[in-house]
């Protein structure tokens, strides 16, 4: 069966290929296609069929050509070799509780309170009720695609009594049998007054190309706190499309730091929806790209109720033939009075062939608001360079120092020492490699 699909699928269009994969996926469930998940899967594939895969003619995908990525012909990951996870787990174990997800399947977790979506889906776990309500397929082809292949992911509920250890969701994509694509669906609920830290990392095993379609649905209860760290420091064959949708109840607080300093094609779509009064969201992002890397951040901060605040800062350093995209949307819904929203996007272009496309976007329907955005694109300050040069630094050293300082404004927002150190070391290495070259 598998071989026939492999043989015929090379001539198919990306969408036809997805349908073929989907049929095969549904068959392979061996009749375990009932209940809530099956219903969602059906809706997902129908919606994907209706929307199609977004092309550059879609406003949201104007600068990011998904078709050129899909030309790599990813196969829906069907095999899982859990043993590949073990040495990767050890890399991150000092950061917190590592939860490895190999090719979209959760490897049996020993940590208490962390469940596999596959296992709890059939039970009447309350959390499963939230599935598909925060990240909805309707109108969103990527979520629809993820939902069509809905199978597994991490389900976790954190309350005041839960261990404070960060949860490290480690996506491992095994490409030793060819290019793979994996769909992950995670559900996180932070109970009122709780405090949670979730870290996302991604690793690719083998020389093939790997594409991760990750969707997170997260609910942060009243007075709860949520910290999300996304460390994208993979190899050039690691590609990712992430959709992280977070709803914040009253007085809840979200801090999200995305560091995209390695990988091939990266598209992040974080969305913070402020649905309770007094909620606060902070989104930070750092992009350091070289070669042909593409990093696309499409952020949404949605002020739905009065008296919420948000702050957003995204920075990028682009070299080689890399491309950075930033689209930051701030919505202020009718009646969301006393909103205070701030957004800034700063980019440095270092090479004549690198590109930045920015679109900070405000859509405001209330009058008692204070919304500001700023966007700058430029190069390193000549005076600062001169200052450092006059103190005996070589041009490369001076540049590396200034760039590190530029990046540090974001990395300083990572409150976990071990992760911050890792990120800073990687960045230093990137700039140092530059210096040597």
């Amino acid at each position: 069966m598998m071989t026939t699909l492999e043989q015929t699928s090379s001539n198919l269009s990306p969408l036809e290929r997805i349908y073929a994969e989907h049929r095969y996926f549904i068959e392979s469930l061996n009749g375990h296609n009932q209940g809530k998940l099956s219903h969602l899967r059906l809706r997902g594939i129908e919606e994907l069929q209706r929307l199609g895969i977004p092309t550059v003619r879609h406003e949201e995908w104007k600068y990011t050509n998904l078709y050129s990525l899909l030309a790599k012909q990813f196969a829906h990951a069907r095999w899982v070799d859990e043993s590949v996870a073990s040495h990767i787990v050890s890399q991150f174990s000092q950061w917190g509780t590592v939860v490895p997800v190999v090719n979209g399947r959760l490897v049996a977790s020993t940590a208490p309170g962390i469940f596999s979506l596959k296992e709890v889906a059939s039970s009447d776990n309350q959390l499963v009720q939230r599935l598909g309500t925060i990240a909805v397929s309707e109108g969103n082809a990527i979520v629809a695609w993820n939902t069509a292949f809905l199978e597994d992911g991490v389900v976790v509920r954190i309350d005041q009594h839960s261990p404070k250890d960060p949860i490290i969701i480690t996506s491992v994509l095994d490409t030793r049998q060819g290019n793979v694509m994996a769909h992950e669906r995670h559900l996180v609920e932070v109970a009122p007054g709780g405090s949670a830290t979730v870290v996302f990392v991604q690793r690719t095993v083998g020389d093939g190309e790997a594409l991760l379609n990750q969707v997170l649905e997260c609910w942060v209860g009243e007075n709860a706190q949520m910290l999300i760290l996304i460390v994208q420091d993979g190899t050039a064959n690691s590609h990712a499309i992430t959709t992280h949708e977070i709803e914040l109840a009253s007085n809840a607080r979200l801090q999200m730091v995305t560091v995209s300093i390695g990988g091939g094609f990266i598209r992040n779509m974080p969305a913070a929806r402020l649905v309770g009064e007094g909620a606060h969201a902070e989104l930070y992002g750092l992009t350091i790209a070289d070669g042909t890397m593409l990093v696309d951040h499409h952020t949404v901060v949605d002020h739905r109720v009065p008296s919420c605040t948000s702050n957003e800062l995204y920075k990028a350093i682009l070299d080689g033939r890399s491309m950075g995209v930033f689209n930051g949307k701030i919505f202020v819904r009718p009646n969301a009075q006393r909103t205070n929203a701030y957004q800034a996007n700063r980019s440095i272009v270092r090479s004549p062939r690198a590109t930045i496309n920015a679109k900070p976007q405000l859509e405001i329907f209330a009058n008692d608001v204070r919304c500001t955005h700023g966007c700058t694109v430029g190069r390193l300050d000549k005076e600062a360079m001169f200052y450092l040069r006059s103190r005996g630094l070589s041009p490369a050293e001076a540049e590396a120092l200034l760039l590190t300082a530029f990046a540090e404004e974001i990395t300083a927002q990572i409150p976990i020492e071990s992760i911050r150190a890792h990120v800073n070391a990687t960045i230093e290495h990137l700039f140092h490699a530059d210096e040597l070259a």
Binding site: V349, I356, P360, I364, V369, C371, G374, C375, T376, R379
Partner: protein, 486 residues
């Protein structure tokens, strides 16, 4: 001080009674209208009526063929019922037997309209220093100051005349900035454009007066398809004013104009607009649909194009005056105040395309939304790979009055060169309670205070307008926002 008195006057006017659209009157001039609908025969008819040469007809037909293959764009943040392009009459001209030579020959009814509008078409022209190419519906009926301009070598006439008398110039430049297949509305305009203004300033000449055209839409169910072409030859300077008012009416009217500006080496073009077309009534009934393509090209080195606009009218505004900065060291500017009230919708902004080296652009956009209106800024700053040391600064501010309106910002920034410096900032806020309190405390009532604040807020743009326009624009701002506070 006199300014303050002026503002108080305006405010008295708007507080005293329910303000009705000031320029809402219809004039009963005999018009010649072609049947509604659009096909090749209609285009041939328009071309024939205007006595155009064959190449112009072919150009129009080609544009029509492009248009037939295009779809109406819907990406803008505006909503309106579908337009039936076959229900529109594409040509209306006041009947006349011969070209009037002096004011006496002009229809007295027509003169009365212009007087009502305050257009100085008589001897006052001289005092006002304005040469008016008045466009009533589609055909230019009177053009003044021709002799004086002619002596300096400046050509300022209607487009139809230019096609007849200066075909070489028209052929050389028409459609070079906005090609007929540029977009849906530009294609439509290219196919059916009725008239407009043509201006050519020869090398080294500084046009001594502000050239001006008054547009009026006067016949029911006729779209206005103006075509304006301004060419500033090497080292020349020209300032052009465009202003418009339209009679009140209930049926939506389509307006799809095209304006092309060409600045050669060391030349400068300043283009100012005060747009005050009928915006529809309070319920959003009626009003003009304004789909305009305006674009300038800084073709030569050190050239400069500056757009200034005050947009208060139209039910729907879809307008992006742009500059292509092709020559090295060229400069593009865009200053805009857009006011929307009641059910008006505006989607406006600019495009700055940096191609040449050391090119600079500056964008200042001030949006004011009130009532149930929606006001969007949509702009593009693109730095092409070869545009070394390009510089852009953009500022777009939005002010909201009332909690039922919307203000939106869609700036696109595309940078392909590492030496570029691009800055963009935007703010959205309401009129601060503390500022209002400060004014109230000093005996200024809220409505007056708001007018003061609005004028201060828009000052940066208003100060770029020629003097006579600035006064009108200030009044317009206050009038447009009538009844939206308190």
């Amino acid at each position: 001080m006199s300014e303050q008195i002026e503002q108080v006057d305006v405010l008295e006017q708007l507080t005293s009674e329910d303000y009705q659209y000031k320029y809402g009157f219809e004039s009963a001039i005999e018009e010649e209208i072609v049947p509604p609908g659009l096909n090749e025969n209609i285009i041939r008819l328009i071309s024939e009526k205007k006595g155009e040469p064959e190449w112009m007809l072919q150009w129009r037909l080609q544009a029509f063929r492009y248009w037939q293959q295009m779809k109406e764009p819907h990406w803008a943040n505006v909503h309106y019922p579908p337009i039936d392009y076959q229900a529109i009459s594409y040509y209306a001209a006041p009947k006349r037997s011969k070209q009037p030579r002096s004011m006496d020959e002009v229809d007295p009814e027509l003169r009365r309209i212009f007087e009502k509008l305050g257009i100085p078409l008589h001897e006052q022209e001289m005092l006002a220093g304005v040469a008016v190419d008045a466009v009533l519906d589609s055909v230019s009926v009177a053009t003044t100051f021709r002799e004086k301009l002619k002596s300096m070598g400046i050509i300022f006439c209607s487009m139809s005349e230019a096609i007849r008398e200066y075909p070489d110039l028209v052929r050389k430049y028409l459609g070079t900035v906005v090609p007929p297949n540029d977009n849906f509305f530009a294609a439509l305009n290219s196919a059916v454009f009725s008239d407009g203004s043509f201006c050519y300033v020869p090398p080294g000449v500084r046009c001594p007066i502000e050239l001006s055209t008054y547009f009026r839409i006067n016949a029911r169910n006729t779209g206005q398809f103006e075509r304006t072409l301004i060419i500033a030859d090497e080292g020349s300077y020209v300032s052009y004013l465009e202003g418009c008012t339209a009679p009140m009416r209930d049926e939506n009217q389509l307006h799809a104009a095209v304006v092309e500006l060409i600045a050669l080496k060391d030349a400068e073009i300043k283009y100012s607009t005060v747009q005050n077309w009928y915006p529809g009534d309070k319920e959003g009934k009626g009003g003009i649909y304004n789909f305009v393509t305006k674009r300038g090209i800084c073709l030569g080195e050190n050239s400069k194009i500056s757009w200034t606009q005050v947009e208060t009218g139209s039910a729907i505004t879809w307008k992006y005056p742009s500059v292509i900065l092709k020559g090295d060291n060229s400069v593009g500017e865009f200053y805009s105040v857009a006011v929307t009230n009641h059910r008006q919708q505006a989607d406006t902004g600019t495009k700055m395309i940096h191609i040449g080296r050391h090119t600079r652009s500056r964008i200042v956009s001030k949006g004011i939304s009130a009532g149930y209106s929606n006001n969007s800024y949509r702009g593009l700053v693109r730095i092409n790979p070869q545009a070394e040391n390009a510089r852009n600064f953009s500022q777009c501010d939005s002010l909201l009055i009332g909690d039922k309106c919307g203000a939106h910002t869609f700036p696109y920034i595309e940078v392909n060169n590492p030496t570029a410096i691009v800055e963009h900032e935007a703010t959205t806020s309401k009129i601060g309670e503390d500022i209002l309190f400060y004014c109230n405390q000093r005996g200024i009532d809220t409505e007056t205070a708001v007018a003061l604040i609005i004028n201060g807020y828009a000052r940066e743009v208003l100060s770029k307008l020629p003097m006579e326009f600035a006064v009108e624009a200030q009044k317009l701002l206050a009038i447009s926002l009538e009844g939206s506070v308190g």
